[in-house]
Subunit: 158 residues, 2 copies
DNA sequence: GAAGATTGACCGTTCAATCTTA
DNA sequence: TAAGATTGAACGGTCAATCTTC
């Protein structure tokens, strides 16, 4: 496993592959979504979480936990999305501190347009290159790594 | 492989695992490097490429190709790093348009401090969770995906 | 015209401080 | 005091336009 100071060749190979892959994947996906549907990648993640929720709405802090985002990041982002007419923030009656977040009709339309673009891009840039068995293998390994990560600090669920 | 419109469960699982993993990994690594050595993750990548180069220097466009960065991103970042005394930009004699980039003594010290932090974090957050065989497997699969990616546009090598 | 590089405007993200309500 | 959320400053990154030199 190399010295404490340096990664060995195999560790470095895995790290570099992950780095290069992620930069390309997220970058291209972001650009395509923006060009084809007017949603950025962060916008898409927000809309996806909202649409998947029981009544198409979530408390802001629930959304933060769901996405693994910091409070301030979420707040800034929701403000921008509200300005662009993609989501609404509604004061919560049962908890005076809270906010409900829900998509507008315009936001829903943008998400409907973005969904096939997203699926096609993920498939073209990632999953389409691997067989069923290989997809299962890479999912298992990645999930194993995630399970061993220490809990991050500074996030909504900490 | 699901419909053209939607990712199937297995594709979605692989995509989500990659997304969650990357966000955690890059986020934590960035914070640790900054806290322990005063270098951001992008700073670290720049220094690593420079130190690995023949005479500890690269032409700006070579650095861009190496990192897969856009020209403007590179230019902005080098300006910030120069302001903080981490690198120097030196006019190129043989090509009046060109710039050499090289680390300062202070930059080299910061990188020396950052290197063990980087190695420890990558190992703790990623490679340390996998066996030798698993690391090889995930590297191979990731490299396969990268090889199948269409060439990105807007980068330094395009 | 193309290559190497820079700039300014704008969006995205983090950090620390703050505000309000529970 | 803690939880939910917001704010402003500063840094990071993208896009389109620009400038100089080849």
């Amino acid at each position: 496993m190399g010295t404490p100071q340096n990664l060995d060749d195999l560790e470095n190979r895995a790290w570099l592959a992950h780095l290069r892959f992620s930069v390309s994947l997220f970058g291209q996906l972001h650009r395509e979504l923006l060009r084809e549907a007017g949603l950025s990648l962060p916008d898409y993640e927000v809309m996806e979480a909202l649409i998947a929720a029981p009544k198409d709405r979530l408390r802001a802090y629930e959304l933060g936990v769901e996405l693994g985002w910091e409070k301030s990041r979420l707040s800034h982002h929701l403000k921008r999305m509200e300005t662009r007419g993609m989501v609404e923030r509604i004061t919560c009656e049962s908890d005076g501190r809270g906010m409900w977040v829900t998509p507008t009709e315009e936001g829903r339309s943008a998400f409907d347009a973005a969904r096939p673009v997203h699926a096609a891009a993920v498939r073209r840039l990632f999953t389409g290159s691997l067989t069923h068995a290989q997809l299962e293998a890479i999912s298992e390994l990645t999930e194993k790594v995630i399970a061993n990560m220490p809990d991050p600090s500074g996030l909504c669920d900490s």
